[in-house]
Symmetry: D2
Subunit: 162 residues, 4 copies
């Protein structure tokens, strides 16, 4: 294979690409709005985001705990974003708008979430890294942390890319 | 082990238990309300539910596709409900209210979702069955189907019980 | 997509393809020999196999239980075989030898195994079905059963194909 | 919960415990012998091991690649070993022999393996860490690396403990 399997970390994305990708992710993927999922950083091999706790996201009425589905949905979305950033970094020869169109073809193949500790707090930090970027599949690893930095959940996802 | 590992299917739940469990699941777990997840049947070894499609749940703006996170969140919730129904069926000697309190201690250990086909349609049918009910862990298998009955996603989850 | 996503079940494989695929699977994949994994049936959408218990496969010295790794290795191999059979069924226009060469390009993307009950018995029956056959990825579901038919473990795997 | 959820890393195991645990793992779990899986370090929160490549472990005849089942079996075993070490570190008040008996009750609940790159090389290094040690379930994360340190596969497993 001639393509690099490890996404480049040193690529600097253009303002237009960052703005475009963030807008698609935070707004046009409507359910991410429902989650309140915001992008906090975008790199070719690693992306981060944040979810502020709110009543809509409660999963356990007694403890005011975040719903496990918020965690799985958020980590799935972040793995997809990381895959998209990695593809973007691979195709820096294309115009930003052209690279953004690749997002439309991205799809999750499968996802695993491990719930380690109850998700309680004012906000949560999400992170995803691409472990391998092939020509057809991206493999990612994700983390979901509390406001105090404590690891609450981990995830792994495979994405179909093009 | 003296307890049965396969949850009984022939148990008939009391009206009070069904109403109570449905109310907790659909209303008090607030994020299930956000998903619009409704219980359609409750048995000791198998539960079913439905999600009506709505703009909030969109994950792919071009195709009006349901967000993968709706699928993972919905299937996680259903696996938990199936575990709860199985525990309820095991403890028919307890009063309904007492059995419902066990729900507060339920937690997802981990979850896997396989996305097979795009989720497009007016509504989706979810199903979960308990493959094994131990004294500490319940293992479940889930399916997410389109309005035409087509299998769109499958899931597997392990839950801590007590 | 013009290709069918569900592998055809009604295809009848030629003797040469069945013999060739079985030989590759049982003999040339050396570790399958170590497991003693034998093909018992081959269809376009579903394959079955069997592993006879032997001292080498013990994982738990006290109970003479089969090692969890035998289960994960066996189910991974069966998911790959099912994917290969599905690809074979899709390309019946190619000569058997040509179809068999596709096996060389098959690879597991990821795997999940749920261990439900201890694997004790004289032999074990394995089964894999292809839930979706895309142009690049095959999604499979697997089962591992005891000699009495009891479900001992379940699996899910994604495979890269071409 | 009064028990610590993070296994202590600073515990120093007695020679007797290390020797006993290594002997059970490498010898009495017969299938680990078949894999040639050796313990290289044992700590309360992290364990490492090594598998030397040999003809028996081949999964892909053309490339002399290690069988995916060797990876899943090895990582499952390592996750179990890490759980056992973590339990050992929690119960330093018990005699080594008594702690070793806890191994007999350990069981894998489920396992996920992500295959990133082909496993080719003279030997492979395996590592497992316990992300959370509850009173009933241990959650672990595993890595499988080539002789050059390259990450070839990752894993996640949940184990029932007591």
């Amino acid at each position: 294979m001639t393509r690099h399997q490890t996404p480049p970390s040193e690529v600097v994305f253009e303002e237009e690409f960052v703005r475009g990708l963030t807008e698609i992710f935070e707004t046009r993927i409507v359910f991410n709005q429902v989650l309140g999922l915001k992008v906090t950083s975008l790199r070719g091999d690693r992306v981060t985001g944040r979810i502020a706790m709110k009543p809509d996201l409660v999963g356990h009425y007694t403890f005011n705990r975040v719903h496990g589905g918020v965690i799985s949905a958020g980590l799935d979305a972040m793995g997809g974003l990381a895959s998209m950033a990695a593809i973007g970094a691979r195709h820096m020869d294309e115009a930003p708008a052209q690279r953004l169109q690749r997002f439309g073809k991205l799809g999750t193949i499968d996802l695993r979430i491990d719930y380690l500790r109850p998700g309680i707090g004012e906000y949560f930090d999400l992170e995803a890294e691409v472990l391998r970027l092939g020509s057809r599949v991206a493999s990612t690893r994700m983390e979901f942390r509390g406001a105090d930095g404590k690891l609450l959940s981990t995830g792994a996802g495979a994405y179909i890319i093009s």
